[in-house]
């Protein structure tokens, strides 16, 4: 992670779909053309307003290079993920990326406490994704960023973008004010279902107002990093037990960067205790594992690495080979290299599914 990776020419038998690429701006002013004057002034004077003690940085400092691959810093001094040429050379071309899904993590639309500002930022980020990334580089696709704590605006934003094939999914954060199964978020799921776009749930660095674990704040980044996997389990659990999948049978959810090896054990646990406690949740008509199997897709990075690599094959089989989608997390430090992510032999058919075909089917990519 501290050395520049070689940039081999793409001698790939298989082109891939990367389900997690993070673009960013050279400076926040890149958003100004897409913001009304009122919010440009607000942004300049007040900046983002999020639920943590430090402004403009994360309270769990990353371990290397601000959480970035050290070789991903553009020469012009702009931040990693801001230079399309470098992204092409270093990642899209080098790794044979046929389609790359943008996850525009922002200090804005997802976490901003001022909901009107969050709505303006979300719209601006969506316009920016189109102008700055998808139009110049058609291999890239955008996710609709929405102000999730303001479902009315979120629905309007989804509807505004629904017909544009540049946007393949709706993105929300699992570190929400309430667990994502709560009814306040249902209009978002209804809108996503109506326009037939999956809902992408990508882990987030910024809190929705709660400690990062069910027993308070940890001390170190290694713990905060793990909390994303625990939190993603709680998120899937909430969607199941609140009855979201019963209410929205066409809803498809993608769990991004929250790990996946926990999924079978979580399903066994949910099934077991649902059986015992189902009188409390009569709206959950079927064993929880069935909803997960039908409605949830998982991206791979950071893929778990057992000492015995074959154990990971057990896990992926238990989840279902048609629900696993490869991702790199470019340009972040814990990037998974497509050549090394899986340390056990994959059959040609499974390799094609995981690296390309599952994502193409889910997103309707050509």
């Amino acid at each position: 992670m501290n050395v520049a990776l070689r940039e081999p020419k793409a001698v790939q038998r298989l082109t891939i779909v990367d389900c997690d690429i993070h673009p960013t701006w050279r400076t926040p002013a890149e958003l100004y053309p897409f913001l009304p004057q009122r919010w440009r002034e607000h942004m300049a004077a007040w900046g983002p307003f999020v639920r943590q003690g430090l402004a403009g940085q994360l309270p769990f400092p990353r371990m290397m290079a601000g959480g970035m691959r050290v070789d991903s810093f553009p020469q012009d001094g702009s931040p990693p993920g801001a230079d399309l040429e470098l992204m092409r050379r270093q990642h899209l071309d080098a790794n044979g990326v046929e389609a790359g899904l943008l996850i525009a993590l922002s200090r804005g639309g997802l976490e901003e406490r001022n909901l009107d500002f969050a709505a303006a930022l979300s719209s601006a980020i969506n316009d920016w994704q189109l102008e700055r990334w998808v139009r110049p580089e058609p291999r890239l696709r955008a996710a609709i960023v929405v102000p999730q704590e303001h479902p009315e605006h979120a629905v309007a934003e989804i509807e505004r973008r629904a017909a544009d094939p540049a946007f393949v999914q709706v993105m929300i954060s699992p570190r929400s004010s309430d667990p994502l199964g709560h009814r306040r978020y249902w209009p978002i799921y209804a809108a996503a279902e109506r326009c037939n776009k999956p809902v992408a749930i990508h882990v987030a660095g910024f809190s929705g107002g709660h400690a990062s674990t069910g027993t308070g704040w940890p001390t170190y980044y290694i713990q905060e990093h793990f909390a994303q996997a625990s939190g993603m389990q709680n998120t899937i659990m909430s969607l199941v037990f609140e009855g979201v999948f019963e209410r929205f049978p066409g809803l498809r959810v993608v769990a991004i960067e929250g790990g996946l090896a926990w999924a079978p054990a979580l399903c066994w646990r949910m099934d077991k205790h649902w059986e015992r406690m189902r009188s409390e949740v009569p709206h959950v008509l079927r064993p929880p594992s069935e909803y997960v199997r039908e409605h949830v897709w998982f991206t791979t990075q950071p893929v778990e690495e057992p000492d015995n690599p074959e154990h990971m094959a057990d896990i992926l089989g238990w989840i279902g080979w048609d629900r696993i989608m490869f991702s790199t997390d470019y340009p972040h430090w814990d990037y998974d290299d497509p050549r090394q992510a899986f340390k056990f032999p994959l059959t040609g058919e499974r390799r094609a599914r995981v690296f390309r075909d599952n994502a193409k089917a889910l997103y309707g990519l050509p």
Binding site: H225, M237, M277, R278, V281
Partner: protein
Amino acid sequence: MKLPIAGAIDCDLHPAPPGARALLPYLDAFWRDQITNRHIERMPFTLMSYPPGSPFAARPDWRPASEPPGDLDGIRRHVLDPFALRYAICNVLHGAIALFNEDMSAALCSAVNDWTAHELLDPEPRLRAAILVPPQNAELAAREIERVAPDRRFVQVLLLAMGETPLGRRVHWPIYAAAEKHGLAVAIHAGSTYRVAPTYAGWPSHRVEDYVAQSTAFETQLLSLVAEGVLQRFPGLKVVMSEGGFTWLPNWFWRAGKTWRGVRPEVPWVDRAPAEIVRDRVRFTLQPVDAPAGDPAVLRRTLEHIGSDRLLLFSTDYPHWHFEGEDALPEGLGGDTIRRMLVDNPLETYPRLGDPAPGRRRAGASRGAPKPARKRGTVARKEAP
């Protein structure tokens, strides 16, 4: 399946917690006044995590007609006798630990421990117990451990999986120092005092969600103990994860290991892979077995992923409802694994269970025990006011 041998050790059993009125004889004059004048003795002190009427809190055939489940008679008839146990370790989940008043919490925890000694351990020599401590004040908790430790029938210290801060934080370290000094394990048991929301996105709507989410709290605590250095700082300390499941462990091993390889300079005292540290120092009670009931091959494979047959401690979790009849063991375990789990692993985890003649001195009655800070009543039963 049924237990193949007699003499097994049940490492997680729940007597019905005493109401506050039953504790009055074990409180000093000050707290007896407080508790009665404020009508606190009328309060149930039931933890929100374990509503006694809910289906998982008591198996239907284990539920007594009137009393709350977990009376001594039921413990004998349903657990000690039919399973032919050598010992069962009582975790008395009393609501005293959820109070905000640290002194009242400490006084009631002491009373619960003395009640446990008199009402459970004295009449039933097959029972052992955990020391209940006020979790919000480690200094008071350590003092209570010092007070009770001379009674060697107490074999562990009881903490909940969800509290105010992760248990590795240094504020909790006096508890571990005291436990290590006295050869007591620290048991982290499912449940929450609800000081923070049970998930990082806030408050779920249903109890089943909170119960399922316990396993993620155990993930948090396990990493907290490793990353914040507790297991390195207290090399003699054993930790028992109680009623949190264990089939989530492979994922924990793999993810914690991978991330540690990436960020280990942040926590340089973690000098081995987290999985190795856990395999050495942390144990997990059997129930609930979160695996598909009809497919023993999955559990067998998961145990291969876990990679050790020394991690599991037999438990019934009585009277909580996890299995039917006397089928306390899931299908899919090998004979050696079962024998280790029933006897050897508990004996290695709890050195006090190996005492040739178990100590019978009462809590606080030992001359060698440090003086409690407050003036307390003697531990011998006093008349209720």
